[in-house]
Amino acid sequence: MPAINEKKAVTPNMMDSNKLMQKQKKILLSPSLFASTILFFTSLFLSPLYPEEYRQSIDEIKKSVVQIRVFSQAKDPFSPWISSGISASTGSGFLISKNRILTNAHVVSNAKFMEAQRNNQTEWYELKVLHIAHDCDLALLEVSDPEFYTDSNYLELGNLPELASPVDIVGYPIGGSKISVSRGIVSRIEQSTYAHSQIDSHLVVQVDAAINPGNSGGPALQNGKVVGVAFQASTKGENIGYIIPTAVIQHFLKDIEDGIYHGYVELGIQTQPSYSESHRQYYGIPNTEEGVFVTKVLKKGSADGHLKPGDYLTAIDGRKIGKNGNLLESNSIDFLEVVDNKFAGDEIRFDLIRDKKKINVKFPAKKMPQMENQRARYGINYDYLVFGGLVFQTVNRDLLEAWSKNGQTQGGSLLVYRFYDATTLSDGETEDVVLYRKLPHPINSNSDFYLNMVVDSVNGTKVKNLNHLKDILQSSKEKTIRIQFYGIQLPMILDREESERADIEIKKNYHLTGN
């Protein structure tokens, strides 16, 4: 009955008024209780703690919040030899130590030049990125000019806010140069996808306050402490914003302690709930045990070689798992959240039932290489290969999005399928390479049939990745190059010398530089 639960959360003191009166009468009749009640209320009136602290903190908060101006330039994944235009944008950030500024990764992605300004400052100060974490949308910045930090203050990190508690979102939304504070109520805490990378899922706090462009990177505060970083808004509902909670911020800060950002680890399994009695009996699961079934173990994930399909996971690090995959202790947090909080090398322990026997399995957490191409990526040069005017690239999210914007989707279901199912199709070692466009030249006029197809092999050698394809083509001494694509029975035939000759002309005509 979720509707009733929600109502209780907002109005927790609603009781029968008659009973309440009688209860108060009883309290007042007791002399000691009566005296203490009087004392309590007197102290309350004498020391209005919260409003004063809050009023003081607003000035301190102003000293710690930063407006960020960014000039960025991205690479076009569809034409990886071309840089896009230069664009300007603004965001917010805040000081979390004497000279460190925390903001969102998306505020400073693809930045070529960045500057920052604090409240009441007239000067803009040049910024540089110290660490950027696209998988959790956070970045740590620094201004090298010490003047920037004069009369500054930094904010402390608080805890996860309570449901229905108020939070203040502070920042510089919609390009205004004056600081803005908007208040919202925490309406939900859950695991959700971070829009910046489009694939990573971590804890988020949903608030019913508008988070507008420019707000991003600003602090969400409760009692003067940071409870999150404002980072994205709902596209469906109005006035619904999301903040990155402190657990994720702390994970980021701990990760960079050694000076390098390593990123999140992945368990690399697929599971299904265990509501079905027959399903449980088939695997010999006792009625008393709750947990989830493993359906797939992904190659190169942490669990690869340690867990098996059919395993019944009952506890992670000693914390019991429910039939729905949530931790039993809270029943609102997915057991994967436990892995999310770990770092590479940390141990993951599972209690599980395998072949009707209870066993324990432990293995180190690690990153999964095939996740990289699933993520939206920023600030990188896309590697590509032009051979006979045919353009090859590693299948990745940026390319797929650019490809679909260009309307080049003809026959592309192979590409889309292999991308979306890459975590299950991939062996974690090889990467798909796609022939996604051609730079027209008489030599490739007959190649349209193979556009948007994924390369399988070249002259009988299985292609592992783009660099491998480059190596094969460069080192081949054979006159004819025979490229086999997935799903197509006929190979593409190219003449090596002709293609290489044409490339010189093509690169000149189409103004290709690099590669």
């Binding site: 079905s276 027959s278 399903h279 359906t295 004819t480 197509i488």
Partner: protein, 491 residues
């Protein structure tokens, strides 16, 4: 005025006599011939996503051509899943009923038969000849509402080959153009001068171009003959690198065999990567065309699929010359119709096939068809499972005889007994109790005849569903009652 009309009439009859003698049996269709009929068909399409249901009935209007012996020719599209057929003669109020006699999905035509044997009284049969006059002008004869026959002009441009909307076999069509708006629902096309039937209009687009089924194909169909299929697909061979690789020295010959359908005419005769040089002694150019003495450049498929008596391949052995492993080889190919067993994922509309389903424990299993996917609306390519879409694009035809149909879990009817699996949909079924599943029939048998306590389903992504055998019947019973489904399966 009267005199003038009489004189014109005489000239007309004389011309008819002359052209009639030239082309044998062809009979001109007069302006007022009562052979063009209005056909109203009520259809009720099956629901591919919920295959136990049918959609609301719809009415389809088309033109019917009387072809004698109480029979009417009509586009097949109009009669798929019909529930009632009403036929009206021009200028008459009485409505006749008819039943479907025969249908060919590749040609897209059907023959109806009047229920009332007297219905064809006063009707004059249209005879389709073996000849078409190309290029030339034609007249579209249509009968609309209560009005008389109307005629509109068209230009018949050329003959070409293509698969029709629900067809697998590339068949000849006449490309036409017209300044006037046409429906393309089976109107009769006659030659403008001699008024000899030329074909039936089956498609007309907004760019003022359309397609006509040529008279000789219609004649072939009316005579009760089937349409053969060459059983392979080819790829043009126009770049020098590929030509050199296959050892071709001349620049002007040959296409590459790219796909061979198992059990078809080409199976066991042609091989992948054969270069097809000649068919029936016609040289094939690198784009797949040959020079036809009358129709000009024509796609090589014509030499396998044409139904024109003069150069029909029907019942004949086709002589082929191919280049295999860099050596010339002479072959002979017997033409057969496309075997249904070669089709893995039915293409186009359903060709009168009601979608099959099998319910097990309140879970619906189906066989993948393109119609199932297209039922998801205009944006169907974005909406459906990416794996199903990929299979539909790349694996419509089996690559070997051992490949089966794609059996998938389309949806779970939510019951408390299957609640562990409520989120499952559009998942490919890999195996049941360890046996790979290749058809719904096989799945039904596997479950029915299983002696084990449990039925263990495994999907292609590893998702599992396990039921006790007796649970399956109980849950089916509950699903049928709860969701008003009549049967566990419909095959």
């Amino acid at each position: 005025m009267l005199f003038l009309n009489q004189k014109l009439g005489f000239t007309f009859v004389f011309l008819l006599f002359l052209t009639g003698s030239l082309i044998g049996k062809s009979i001109p269709v007069g302006m007022t011939d009562p052979s063009i009929l209005q056909v109203k068909v009520t259809v009720q399409y099956p629901h591919f996503i919920q295959p136990w249901r049918f959609k609301n009935p719809e009415i389809r209007q088309s033109t019917g051509i009387y072809i004698g012996e109480n029979r009417i020719l009509i586009p097949a599209q109009a009669v798929y899943f019909y529930t009632s057929i009403e036929i009206k003669k021009p200028e008459a109020l009485k409505v006749y009923t008819a039943e479907l006699e025969r249908l060919d999905p590749d040609l897209g035509l059907a023959i109806l038969k009047f229920n009332d044997p007297n219905a064809s009284k006063d009707l004059k049969a249209v005879i389709f000849p073996n000849e078409v006059f190309l290029p030339g002008t034609g007249l579209v004869m249509e009968s609309k509402d209560q009005r008389n026959l109307e005629e509109k002009k068209i230009r018949m441009i050329r003959l070409d080959m293509d698969a029709y909307s629900s067809g697998y076999v590339e068949l000849p069509f006449i490309e036409i153009q017209s300044e006037e708006k046409l429906d393309g629902v089976g109107e009769l096309i006659v030659d403008a001068t001699a008024r000899i039937p030329q074909g039936i209009l089956y498609q007309f687009k907004e760019n003022n171009s359309g397609r006509v089924i040529p008279a000789f194909s219609i004649k072939h169909f009316i005579e009760g003959k089937s349409f053969s299929f060459k059983g392979f697909r080819f790829k043009p061979l126009i770049d020098s690198a590929t030509r050199n690789y296959y050892g071709l020295r001349k620049d002007d010959l040959g296409v590459l065999v790219a796909e061979i359908y198992p059990g078809s005419s080409a199976d066991g005769v042609l091989q992948l990567e054969d270069v097809l040089l000649e068919v029936s002694n016609f040289k094939i150019d690198p784009k797949g065309y040959f020079d036809h003495p009358k129709f000009g450049k024509l796609n090589v498929s014509y030499l396998f699929h044409n139904t024109n008596d003069i150069d029909s391949s029907f019942g004949k052995k086709i002589k082929l010359k191919v280049f295999r492993n860099k050596k010339p080889v002479s072959l002979e190919l017997d033409l057969k119709p496309l075997p249904d067993s070669a089709i893995r994922i039915p293409y186009g509309n359903s060709r009168f096939q009601t979608p099959k389903y099998l319910m097990l424990a309140g879970i619906i299993f189906q066989e993948l068809s393109e119609q199932f996917l297209t039922e998801h609306g205009n944006q169907w390519r974005n909406r459906v499972s990416k794996e199903l879409l990929y299979l539909n694009d790349f694996y419509r035809i089996k690559r070997n005889q051992n490949e089966g149909r794609v059996v998938f879990l389309s949806q779970v009817l939510p019951l408390s007994g299957n609640k562990a699996y409520h989120t499952a949909h559009q998942m490919i079924l890999k195996s049941v109790n360890g046996t790979q599943v290749q058809s719904l029939e096989q799945l039904q048998t596997l479950v029915k005849e299983s002696t084990s306590t449990y039925i263990h389903f495994v999907m292609s992504d590893g998702f599992e569903m396990i039921f006790k055998k007796e649970e399956i019947q109980t849950l089916n019973l509950e699903a049928k009652q709860s969701f008003q489904i009549q049967k566990d399966s419909n095959f």
